[in-house]
Symmetry: C2
Subunit: 443 residues, 2 copies
C-alpha cells in the first residue's frame, strides 16, 4: 500500500513561498507567546481591547466602506446584517474581548501526576496548540472574539476574513496588533490573510497550523473539511430532532418543541424534525398545529402526519435538510425504536432531545442516541458553550473524537508529557533490576 | 469557496456496496455493544481469551501455512519474525487479552457535572467511539490485542490483517467471534477484512468508522494519513533527540544516550540524533566514542563532531532519517538555543530529552520543545503507555490534538453531553425570566 500517489488535497494549490514564510513567522511568534505567563497573556488581551476602543472610529469607518461595496455588489441582506458593525455592536464585541481576558487560564494545568519509580516522575500538562487557522465569512465581530480566545490560550492565529469584510478586518487586526505591541506577546502572533489564494494555501499548512476553525456557512465548513489534513473544529450540518414519546407531557413537549424551533431558527441547534409517537400523535398535533401556525412555523409531514392535519408533504430530502428557517418536518413513528432508527439515519450527531415522562424511554434514548448532546425534557437550544457554563464558545464539533459538542477554551489547548528522572534507563526495567511503582501523586 | 471539487480521497476507490453493508452491520453490532455493562464487556473479553486458548492448535497451524507461503515468496526475515507465532508467543498474547479484560472500564465516567439552573442538570460522560478500523502489517498477535482493547472499551472493529498473515488472522478472528457467541456482545462487532480492495475501501468509510489505527511501517501510516478523512491514531516518524547540555553529568548523559539508542533500536522512541553542546563535546565524545563502538553503534557526525573523532560524515538527509537501527547522528551545537532550533526543524514532535544539571537549561528545554514527550535526565525509551502506567497502549500519536503521545484505553472513548430538564426552554434565559446558576455538582 505504499506506492506513490497523488496527495489528497491536490485540488487545493500548494501554498506559495511567501505564505509559508509568513506562517513560519507566526509560528515562531506563537512559540514565544506559549512561554508567556497567565498574567502576561491576560494583560495582552486587555491591551487588545484597549486598542480596539481607541480605534473604534477607524474600524466603523472601514466597516462603512465594506457596506458600501456590499451595497454596490448587491450582497444578500442576511450577509449585510452580519457584516454590519455599529457603535453598539463594536462596543459589545470589545466587552467580549475583556470577558475573554477574565477567563481562567486553560494552560499549565496538571492533568496527570505519577511517580513511575523513585526519582522518575511523570506529569501531563495542558499546553497551547500552537497556531490556529481561522476562516470567516462576513462577521468582523468574530475576528475580535477568536483573536482574543487565541491569545488568551497562548496560540498564534492566521486570520482570513471574508472578502466582503476586508476593510473591517484590516482595521481590526491592525488595532489588535497595536494593542499587542505594548504587551509581552509578540504582535506577529496575529496575522491577517487577505486573498482567496492565501486562504486556500492555509488549508495546506500542515505542520505550521494545528487547527482550522471555520466560521461561516455549512458549505464553507464542508469545503474546508474536504480539503485539508489539518484538524477542523466545526460542524457542517445541524440536523437536530425532538422525539415526542408516547408518554410525553403534552404541554411540556409542545413548549420545548416551539422553543427548539423558533427561539433562533438559524442556529445549528434548532430542530429540523419532530418525531411523534403514533399513540400520542392525534392529541399532540391537535394542540401543536395551531401553536406552530401562530408562531409562523410551516410544517411538512409524512403521510401519517398529513392525515392528522399537517398540510404540506415533506418532499424527498426533507429529512436530510437543515432549513435554518421557520420550517419543521413532522413524522409519526411507530415506536421509540423507529425514532432512534430515523435519528441514526438522518441525524448529524449534533443534539437530539426527547420529551417523555417514562424513565425507561428516557434511559433508552439517552443511552442509544450517539450525538454530542442528548437531552431529556428540555430545548435543544441549550447546546451552547455559554449556556453550558464554559464562559466562551470556540465552536461546536460534531466529530466523534474529543473535543465534541460545544467547545470552550479547552478546545484550544492540548497536553504534553513531562518526565523528570535522575539517570533512569529502560534497560533496568526490562531486566528486572528495577520495577515501576506507578504511584499516583497529587495533581 | 463552495464550488464543486473533486473529493480529496478520490485516489482511493469508493467502498463497494458489499463493504458498506458489512461495515453498517458492524456499526449496528457496535451500538448494541455500547449498551453492554462493564461486567458484560469484561466477561466477553475473558470469553475471547478462552476461545483463543481452545483454538490454539488451529491458530498455530494457520500460522505455519502463512510461514510456508512467506518462505516461498522470500519475505524479508524481519517480517517473517513478526509474522511467526509459536506456542509461547500465542500464550503470551492470550495472557495479554486477559490483562485487557482486567483493565478499569473507560466507559461511563462522569467528567463534568453542572447544574445549569434548578432542575436542569448537565453531565459529560465517556462513551465508546463506535467502530475502529485497524490495519495491520504482519503481526497476528496485534490482532488479538487490538480486538480485546476494542471490545473492552465498547467499540466494534473492522480488522484488516496483512496478506502475509491471512490464514493466521482468519483463524484468530474466527476464534474471537466464537468466544463472543456465548457472551452479551454480538460477535458481529468484530469483522475481518481480507482483500486489499477492502482495506482501501475502509479508508473511505467516513460516518461508519470513527478512528483508524494503523499498525505497521511508517510508509503504511503515512499512506493512510494521506488518504482518509477519518482520524488516524498513530505516527509516521519517530525522530527523537537527546541534548547533552553544557552542564550535563557526563556519566549520566552517556548512560541515557546508550539506553535511548540501543535498548531497542527499532522502536519509535529510540533516539536518532545526539545534540552535544560545544563546551562539553570534547570530553563527552572522548568517553562516548569507545562506549558506542563497544555497543555496536555506528556514529555519523557533522564537521565539528568528525573533528572530535566521529569517523563517518552525516550525509544529506541524515537529520531527517529514522534509522530504526544501531546508527546515531551526532551534531555539535553552539548552545541550547541551537539545539532547540534543530529539534524544531528536524524533530517529529514525538519524544525529546535533555541531560543537564542546570535548572535553567532544564526549564527552558521542558517549556520550549513542542513534542508529545519532553524528558529530563532519563531515557527516551520510557515514552510508552505501559511504562507510563496506562495498563495498555493503543498507539502513540504525534498529532498536536489530544490524544497525544502514548495512548491507553482512554484513546478509544469519547464523551457525550447529557442534559436533563423539566420543560426548560432557552427563551426564558434570553428574556431574563430565568438565569443560569452554573453550579458545579460532585462528579
Amino acid at each position: 500500500m505504499s506506492q506513490t500517489i497523488t496527495p489528497p488535497t491536490s485540488v487545493v494549490p500548494e501554498p506559495d513561498p511567501q505564505l509559508l514564510q509568513r506562517a513560519a513567522a507566526v509560528r515562531r511568534a506563537a512559540m514565544a507567546l506559549g512561554q508567556c505567563s497567565d498574567a502576561e497573556r491576560r494583560a495582552a488581551v486587555e491591551a487588545m481591547a484597549d486598542a480596539l476602543d481607541a480605534a473604534s472610529a477607524e474600524i466603523l469607518e472601514a466597516n462603512r466602506a465594506d457596506l458600501a461595496a456590499a451595497a454596490a455588489e448587491g450582497l444578500a441582506p442576511a450577509l449585510v446584517a452580519r457584516l454590519k458593525l455599529d457603535g453598539a455592536k463594536l462596543a459589545g464585541a470589545i466587552t467580549g474581548v475583556r470577558q475573554v481576558a477574565a477567563l481562567a487560564d486553560p494552560v499549565g494545568r496538571r492533568q496527570l501526576h505519577t511517580e513511575l519509580d523513585q526519582g522518575l516522575v511523570l506529569e501531563r500538562l495542558s499546553v497551547p496548540l500552537g497556531v490556529l487557522g481561522v476562516i470567516f465569512e462576513a462577521r468582523p465581530d468574530a475576528v475580535m472574539q477568536i483573536a482574543s480566545l487565541a491569545i488568551r490560550s497562548g496560540n498564534g492565529a492566521l486570520l482570513k476574513g471574508g472578502r466582503e469584510a476586508s476593510c473591517s478586518c484590516a482595521a481590526i487586526v491592525a488595532a489588535l496588533q497595536r494593542g499587542l505591541e505594548g504587551s509581552a506577546v509578540p504582535p506577529g502572533a496575529l496575522e491577517l490573510l487577505t486573498s482567496r489564494q492565501e486562504s486556500l494555501g492555509l488549508l495546506r499548512l500542515d505542520g505550521l497550523v494545528d487547527l482550522i476553525i471555520p466560521r461561516g456557512s455549512n458549505a464553507l465548513v464542508r469545503f474546508i473539511q474536504d480539503n485539508t489534513r489539518i484538524p477542523v473544529l466545526g460542524h457542517a450540518d445541524g440536523i437536530c430532532h425532538l422525539v415526542v414519546d408516547r408518554a410525553a407531557d403534552l404541554a411540556l413537549a409542545l413548549r420545548i418543541a416551539l422553543d427548539s424551533k423558533t427561539q433562533y431558527p438559524a442556529a445549528c441547534n434548532a430542530i429540523e424534525t419532530l418525531l411523534v409517537h403514533q399513540a400520542i400523535a392525534p392529541a399532540f398535533l391537535a394542540a401543536a398545529l395551531p401553536a406552530f401556525a401562530a408562531a409562523g412555523v410551516e410544517l411538512r409531514g409524512d403521510a401519517a402526519a398529513c392525515a392528522l392535519g399537517v398540510e404540506q408533504v415533506a418532499g424527498p430530502g426533507a429529512w436530510d435538510t437543515e432549513y435554518s428557517d421557520l420550517i419543521l418536518n413532522v413524522k409519526v413513528v411507530e415506536d421509540l425504536e423507529a425514532a432512534l432508527e430515523h435519528i441514526r439515519r438522518h441525524g448529524s450527531r449534533h443534539t437530539d432531545a426527547i420529551a417523555t415522562t417514562d424513565p425507561a424511554s428516557a434511559d433508552r434514548f439517552l443511552r442509544a442516541v450517539d450525538s454530542a448532546g442528548v437531552f431529556l425534557n428540555c430545548s435543544t437550544r441549550f447546546a451552547d458553550g455559554n449556556r453550558y457554563g464554559f464562559g466562551a464558545e470556540v465552536g461546536i464539533s460534531t466529530q466523534t473524537l474529543p473535543p465534541r459538542g460545544p467547545v470552550g477554551l479547552e478546545g484550544l489547548v492540548t497536553y504534553r508529557y513531562r518526565l523528570r528522572g535522575e539517570g533512569h534507563i529502560a534497560a533496568d526495567y526490562a531486566d528486572g533490576t528495577r520495577s515501576f511503582s506507578h504511584r499516583p501523586l497529587p495533581l
